[in-house]
């Protein structure tokens, strides 16, 4: 990994943390449970890495590890977004 790339990635990481703090501090406590399940689903983005590994030509072991990772990550993503939707649909105003 060239130095420039590394620095770029670190910049993205640091800036995204700031964006995260800005956005998330504004979320009201009443929605904290959906926030956890929803952000949890977003952390399932690792599915992208899992798919890359599982569909690669990196050798049998890597592909197997990748397929297991895809299963976990997909469960996380699909279940996370669905259950968040289910919860949010219940919130109504009087």
């Amino acid at each position: 990994m060239p130095v420039e790339v590394l620095i770029l990635l670190i910049s993205v990481f640091v800036l995204a943390i700031f964006v995260g703090f800005e956005v998330i501090t504004k979320i009201p406590p009443t929605l904290h449970t959906p926030l956890m399940s929803g952000s949890n689903a977003i952390s399932g983005i690792t599915i992208v890495g899992a798919l890359t590994a599982a569909g690669s030509d990196w050798g049998t072991l890597s592909v197997v590890l990748g397929v297991v990772a895809v299963t976990f990550a997909t469960t996380n993503v699909v279940g996370g977004f669905m259950v968040t939707h289910r919860m949010l649909s219940m919130f109504r105003k009087s």
Binding site: G20, T25, T33, I45, L51, S62, V83, S94
Partner: protein, 474 residues
């Protein structure tokens, strides 16, 4: 498809995640926000599927299919009371997936040469080390998240006794395991080796167990929030391994989200994170102070549902303070009926919710929303507290430590300084409880003995239904 288009697709996905989280700032926009997040995820997945990095698809279908079935089954079947367990499991799954991605990358054979040899054989490229560091970080954090989350799940599901199993050497064990994991990580960075990597994973897995096992049930909201943060950081670390900005951005968003929630929870319990993680209230510390007998003797006034019904009849403002006990008694629907009945009679009814009521942040709100209590009736502690002097009746159901005035008044109480819901300032307080048993903090609650407090002993749901019945009778 060209690499640039795929990178742009990742950027679009990241932007959708940010807008999605922004949508969660209000219940009205939250559903749309969540759908935006899901759309972002779909875009990212499609982008990687059409990229040149994928050379064969057959095995992908297995993993994707299994995940879709399992994920949707869990999401549809889960009871709202069990939401903390589900989030714990999902945190763990995210963590292990990131660790496995790092492992797959580290174990890979690229162009006939094992990746570790590529890393080792290139002393000129000192930044081969950064790849190793990322692999180690994703593996370590991912494995800790996985086993830690499994323990948290087992505790919430009550498969493991919820109370702390205080091992005197807990801190020493944790420190030793962490040092060993870091040492192995350093070794694999200096001298790339898959054996060392797996040894580190094993140590990290053990660390996850030893970190969460001693933590009590009352502290689970903090632990889940922290593990939520870890699952994001593991994804971000995996992003560094694969040089993928989508993973880095999303991972850091979740990392900061979990951290903010962790800090909110700690503040609501007036404790430091270190104190939660390494013992404290309920963690075996001897509780000093007056015994329950001294606090309660001769001062407890017991009441009946008929009497409570009569008080509510003449009340113009009622505040209900729910705790996890309400969920255990499945009383939330009965509480909703009581609210509706009182509102029909022209009584103002609100709910005051402590940040750590329930087993995870916001848990009470979800349970009440499920019971059709409108969200604008759910008030945060800071908003509700100033209204208690104008409140005729405060009904506490299934909550204890979060309404204990000692937190405010007794400086050497184990819960001193913890922000509480100030029900004791209401004209009359009705506490619905099975007995005078203490809450998680293990201390007696002088609220129960206060002049303006009436105890309604009984099962939460039945007690509320009896009150509803008494109100309806006349």
């Amino acid at each position: 498809m060209s690499e640039s288009i795929i990178r742009i697709a990742y950027l679009v996905a990241a932007v959708l995640f940010i807008f999605g989280l922004k949508g969660l700032t209000h219940p009205k926009t939250a559903v749309r926000g969540n759908l935006m997040g899901a759309t972002g995820m779909l875009i990212a997945v499609v982008a990687v599927l059409v990229s040149r990095e994928i050379v064969s698809y057959g095995q992908l279908a297995i993993g994707l299919g299994a995940g879709v079935v399992l994920g949707s089954l869990l999401a549809v079947k889960i009871q709202m009371t069990a939401m903390p367990q589900l989030v714990a499991v999902f945190n763990g799954f995210g963590g292990i997936a990131s660790a496995l991605v790092a492992a797959a990358s580290y174990e890979s054979i690229r162009g006939g040469t094992p990746f570790v040899e590529v890393l080792a054989a290139d002393p000129s490229d000192t930044l081969a080390a950064t790849t190793s560091v990322s692999v180690a970080a994703a593996g370590l954090v991912g494995a800790v998240t996985f086993t830690g989350s499994l323990v948290a799940f087992s505790k919430l599901q009550e498969l493991i006794k919820g109370k702390p199993r205080w091992v005197p050497s807990g801190r020493v064990v944790n420190g030793a395991l962490l040092a060993a994991a870091v040492a192995l990580a350093v070794i694999m960075v200096v001298n790339p080796s898959t054996t060392v990597f797996w040894a580190m994973i094993a140590v990290a897995a053990a660390l996850g167990l030893s970190l969460v096992l001693p933590i009590g049930g009352a502290d689970m909201p903090v632990v889940i929030a922290l593990l939520n943060s870890y699952s994001g950081l593991a994804a971000a670390a995996a992003g560094f391994v694969l040089q993928n900005t989508a993973l880095i951005i999303s991972g850091s968003l979740v990392g900061s989200s979990g951290l903010i929630l962790t800090m909110i929870m700690c503040k609501a319990m007036n404790r430091s994170l270190a104190n939660v993680l390494f013992g404290g209230v309920g963690g075996g510390a001897k509780v000093e102070g007056p015994s329950a007998d001294e606090v309660y003797a001769g001062k407890i006034k017991s009441t009946s549902s008929e009497e409570v019904g009569m008080m509510l009849e003449s009340a113009s403002r009622v505040v209900i303070v729910p705790g996890y006990g309400m969920a255990v008694a499945q009383a939330q629907h009965a509480v909703r009926d009581l609210m509706n009945l009182l509102q029909e009679r022209g009584t103002e009814v609100e709910f005051a919710i402590h940040p750590v009521a329930g087993r995870m942040p916001g848990h009470m709100n979800v349970l009440l929303a499920e019971s059709d209590v409108p969200y604008d009736h759910l008030k945060e502690m800071e908003v509700a507290n100033p209204t208690f002097p104008q409140t005729d009746v405060a009904i506490v159901i299934g909550a204890n430590d979060v309404v204990n005035p000692d937190a405010r008044e007794v400086p050497d109480s184990p819960i001193a300084g913890m922000p509480i819901i100030e029900v004791d300032k209401a004209r009359t307080v009705v506490v619905i409880k099975r007995s005078l048993s203490p809450g998680f903090a293990g201390v007696p609650n002088p609220l129960f003995a206060a002049d303006n407090t009436m105890m309604l002993f009984g099962h939460g749901k039945e007690a509320i239904l009896d009150i509803v019945g008494a109100l309806k009778e006349d």
